[in-house]
Structures are given as structure tokens and as C-alpha cells.
Symmetry: C2
Subunit: 337 residues, 2 copies
Amino acid sequence: MGTIYDLAKKTGFSITTVSKALNNYKDVSEKTRAKILQAAAEMDYLPNAHAQSLSTKKSWAIGVMFSEANEVGMKHPFFNGIIESFRHATEEHGYDLIFASRNLRNRDMSYLEHFKHRAVDGIVVICSDRMDEQVQELMQSDIPIVVVDMDSANCSVVYSDNTAGARLAVEYLYGLGHRAIAHIAGDSSIDAGAARVKGYELAMQALELPIQPGYLVNAGFFSVEEGKRAMEKLLQLPSPPTAVFVAGDQMAIGAIEAVHEHGLRVPEDISIIGYDDIEMIKYITPKLTTIRQDTDEIGEAAAELLIEQMTAKERRTERRVIPVRLIERASCAPVKK
Amino acid sequence: MGTIYDLAKKTGFSITTVSKALNNYKDVSEKTRAKILQAAAEMDYLPNAHAQSLSTKKSWAIGVMFSEANEVGMKHPFFNGIIESFRHATEEHGYDLIFASRNLRNRDMSYLEHFKHRAVDGIVVICSDRMDEQVQELMQSDIPIVVVDMDSANCSVVYSDNTAGARLAVEYLYGLGHRAIAHIAGDSSIDAGAARVKGYELAMQALELPIQPGYLVNAGFFSVEEGKRAMEKLLQLPSPPTAVFVAGDQMAIGAIEAVHEHGLRVPEDISIIGYDDIEMIKYITPKLTTIRQDTDEIGEAAAELLIEQMTAKERRTERRVIPVRLIERASCAPVKK
DNA sequence: CCTCTTCCCGAAAGCGCTTTCGGTAATTTG
DNA sequence: CAAATTACCGAAAGCGCTTTCGGGAAGAGG
């Protein structure tokens, strides 16, 4: 493969000139540049990224901290859409993604430390647990950063318009004639969960619907099982809801399961609307009506916000809220008279 | 953060000694090592990975080439399980994963070139298209490599026991009394597809069942739509099968859809068995019976094979075939009399 | 013909770290 | 007590690249 020294020897120029030719400096004539590029091609020369980073202080690498919760990691059906789109967007600008371990030759270190060690140009955190110490540490560092799916006053963030989405859902159910509308919520320690609760409450208030006791149930961390348990609670109520807005598709799947096991039908007996629009809900029965979060858009926005900071080499803080939209499928129906 | 020079200045020792202390060389006394480590902790010293890699020729990074086909990327429901487990396994040994772009400051380059540029210690390719030029190039390089989900004579590979899995599926259907067993296959250009076809044929032969004309249909690249179309072909046959072994869960989902649209039921009218055991099939109706590929095991095996090579700093070629197993759910039933 | 620009090129320092090879001081051995 | 080990430490070269700065040659201007 060779180094610029080899190129210098081969072409007879100095390594300075070789380096300049390779980097399009203008103080090298076209003729010598051509010779050098030719020689480089002949010997399959490739610059060594480590050497470059060392001397330029730029690594062209983005550190990613990805959903660590409950072992799902890259299997996370919503986040993996975001990271995919983020990857695409950053790739076009020449950045590589590095998934760091917290393990440096035995000694374990924090994500921040590892990212500093690797000298990444920026960081993206896609992880909904704002209370995570590691996340906190990253947000307080001075490395360019963008955080997805949670809010923060002192770093760039991008997330969906969760309250608007929740209102959309409630208003849609209302439009179908429903008045007894419950909400299976995600935990409020997660921004998205809290925002959707807020949207639910605002919408109910705007529609002058009181929230009946027991109609707002916290189902924790968005899993199928938790959604199922939450729905069971609703079904046990003296007067169960005719429609429920579920804060996440996975929980909605669990909710539907609970309804079925209770001998009722969706949507004939109970309407269910989810949130996220993950892949699999197109294949369940009934196909889930949901609020779609635009993962492509989110990933791209995150990339944009981060790249800006990295090229400016300074931390900025900008908030980007991505609109959502209702996807009508088959899990909601007009209320039974 | 500081460098070893700062540490040297602060402690009064030479940078040589500092470096040695940090790297547990034994020709530095306990006393001075303690002082240096102390100082390092005080100034939050972190070694610079680029400098280290430059001088040691070891980057502690693994380049990953991940499913590029049809824009799914990290959303691939089977591969993302593998990469997650692979990540876990390599993390414990101190390796980071780097998802490279093929874009180096405008000029585009191959994956191999990019990986050389980044000086990764090893490469993992998780991507089923063996004909991909990029994959070929990687397999022929001299960097330690492990390839998942396809076979090759000249590099380490790990994949599931696809023929055994196919036989398992066919024998299971046979055991339920089925004799008219069809196979919706993945394209033979993909190793997994070809192996499953082979397993299907072997099993049918062993059971002395002739493969009726039209019973073996190539459905291409494992998508829901292709599976659906394939099933439609089967349903148009003069005597349609009573059971079909589908080479992938996504295709099986499509197949079930086709059956339903045809006014028939699964499994009452037609039994369907899938392959992979991806997350979502637990939530469709009916829950899909399938052959589970152990993504955890595959990822771990791949990690092991690669780490061996990287520590030995030499390319090796070993084949690891991971056993599969039948997961019985609700999409298969005894044949109707 | 001389001076002033402009155009090219290269010396050298620096990025932060590792590792070989000696050398001194302290310790052990005969 | 002299000689031979042993224990510690440091100088220096090297990893592959970038970038500042200065200098020579060629062309422009008077």
C-alpha cells in the first residue's frame, strides 16, 4: 500500500509536495499533481486515517450511543429506522459511525471517555432514557452532539411532535364518535411518554371530555407485555373505554392481545390507535391505525444538526420538532350506538 | 485532557517512563507507577487512540459491512439480531465497531479501501448477496474476516444449518399427515435460499414424496410481497398443496396474506411454516410456526472466529454451522381428511 | 537591465504515542 | 571488597501525515 514517503521516492518530489498534491493545494502545478496522482493510483496508495486524524485533529467519525435499555439494542424497531437514516445522511458527508464499547483494554470507561479517546468529531445519542448517567455526561461535554427523542435546553435535539400526535389521535377517535377515550401511557420519565400524556390531556380538555378515573394508565417502558397488562386494567373498570390511545405500537399490540383474550373484538368493540408506525403492525390483525413518526426525517434532521456543529467545530443548540401524521388502518371504527 | 508530555512534566519522569507506567511495563517501580497513575487520574488523562494505533498498528476497531440490499440496512429484522449479539461479544474484548461509508472526502472508494484506510483489525460482513463485488473484494483481501450467512472456501464463515432446518420443517409437516408439501424458496443466488431448497428436496426424497410440478416456487429475495405472489401461484395450481414450507418469515407473512385473501384459513385449510423466527411473527394471526435461527449464537460464533484471527494477526478459515430448531406455534395443523 | 510579483516546491516541526537499546545506581555474589 | 546482576529509568527513533514558512525560478513591469 505504501506511504507518502514511498510516493515521494517514486516521483522524486518531496513528501510535502506529495501531501499537497493529494490534498488539492493550489501551490502545486498541474503537471506534478498529475504525476503524483498517477503514481498513487499505480501503487494503490491509501492515506492512513490515524495519521491524518492525528495531525489534523479531525477524525471523520461520529460516536453513537444507541439504545441500551433491556438488551434490545439494534433490534429496537423504532430507533433502528432512525439510525439507518442517520447513517445514510452522514455517509454522504464522509463520516463513519463508530459504535463504541465502554471497555478499553479491560479498564472500563464511560462513553464520553471512550469517545474522547477515539477523538470523534461528534456524538449522536439515540436512547430514550434521559436519566442515564452516561447520557447526562455526554450532554454536558463540549463535543458537538445531537440527541434524538428527548428534549434538553443545552444541546441540539430532534424529536417528533408528540403532543400534536397525541391530540391527533384523540381527535380522530372523537371524530369516530368516541367519548370514552382512555390512554395507555409510556412512563413520564421518558420525554416522549410525558409529551403524549400531555397531548392526551390537552385534547380531552379541548373537547370538553373529562378524563374518567382509571382512564390514564401508565404502562411503563413501551413493551408488549406492559401494554397488555395496562389494557387488562382498563377492561376491569366498571365502565371500560370504547377507544384507547396507546402511546406506542408495541404496547398497542399487547393491548389488542388483551382485548382478544377478553373475548372482545378490535375495532368492533374497542378501537385502538397506536404510536410510531413500526414495520410489523402492518401485518397484525387488525392492521393497526397509528400515528407515524417519520424516522427518515428524524435521522436526517439529526445528521444535519450534527454536521453543522462539526464543520463549525463548535457546539450549538438547536431544537427540531418533526411533524407526525395519522395512518389510518383497521383498528379503529365508529363507536357502537 | 493532556498528553503523556504533560504527565511527564507534571510527574518529573520522562515520557518513556510515563508510557511504560500506563502500559504496565514491568521495568518501572511500583512507586513511580503509582505517582504517574495518580497524576493521570488528576488531569483526566486519556490516551489518544489515533496516536496509539499509529505506533502500534492495532486499531481495536472492526469494520462492518452490513446488509445493503433494498435500503433496509439496520432495519433488517434478522441481521440486526446478529449484529447486536456480535457487538456484545466483541465489546467485551475491547473492540469497537465501525460502520464505514464508501465515501472518503468526496472521492468514493470501496469498502475494502475504506477499511484499509481506517486500518481496522478485522472485518465482519453480514450481507446475503455473495455476488456483490464489494463482498468479493473483502473476502479476497488479507485482512482477518468473518462472513455471516454465506459459505466460502477461503474465509471464516458462520451460518445456520439450513438444509437441516429445511428437513426439519418438511418432516414436521409430514408428521402432521401432509403429503402435498410445497416450498416457497428464496433465490438460489443466496446461499441460504439454495441450502433450504436442497434440504426440502432431500427431505421429500427421503420421505418418498415426489415434488409435484409447480410445488417449488422461487420467490426471490425474501420480501413479504414476493412471498404473497408465490403463494398465489400455488393456490392457482390444479391441486394446491395442503402445506407449504416458506424459506423466510417475511415471505411466510405474505403467503398467509394470500391465503386469507383467497378465502381460506391458516392452518385449517393450509399449513404454513416459516424460517428465521423474527420478532414480529409472534404477533401476527395465526402466530407463525417456524424454524428458529439462533441469532445470538451466530453473532457470538462470528465474534469468536474473528477475534481469534485478530489476536493471531493472521487470516484463518474456519466454518461454523449453527444448529436450528423448530418453534411450534399456530400456523400448522394436521391435514384435513 | 533591474526590481517586484507570482508560481512552485521543500525543510522542518509537530500531532501523541510505543519501543528498542543503553546506561546508571543499587543490590547481590564469590 | 571487587565483580556481576538486577532494577529502573530515559534518549531517540519511528508510526504517516499536515502545514507553516521561506526560498528559488520565472515572468511582469519600469
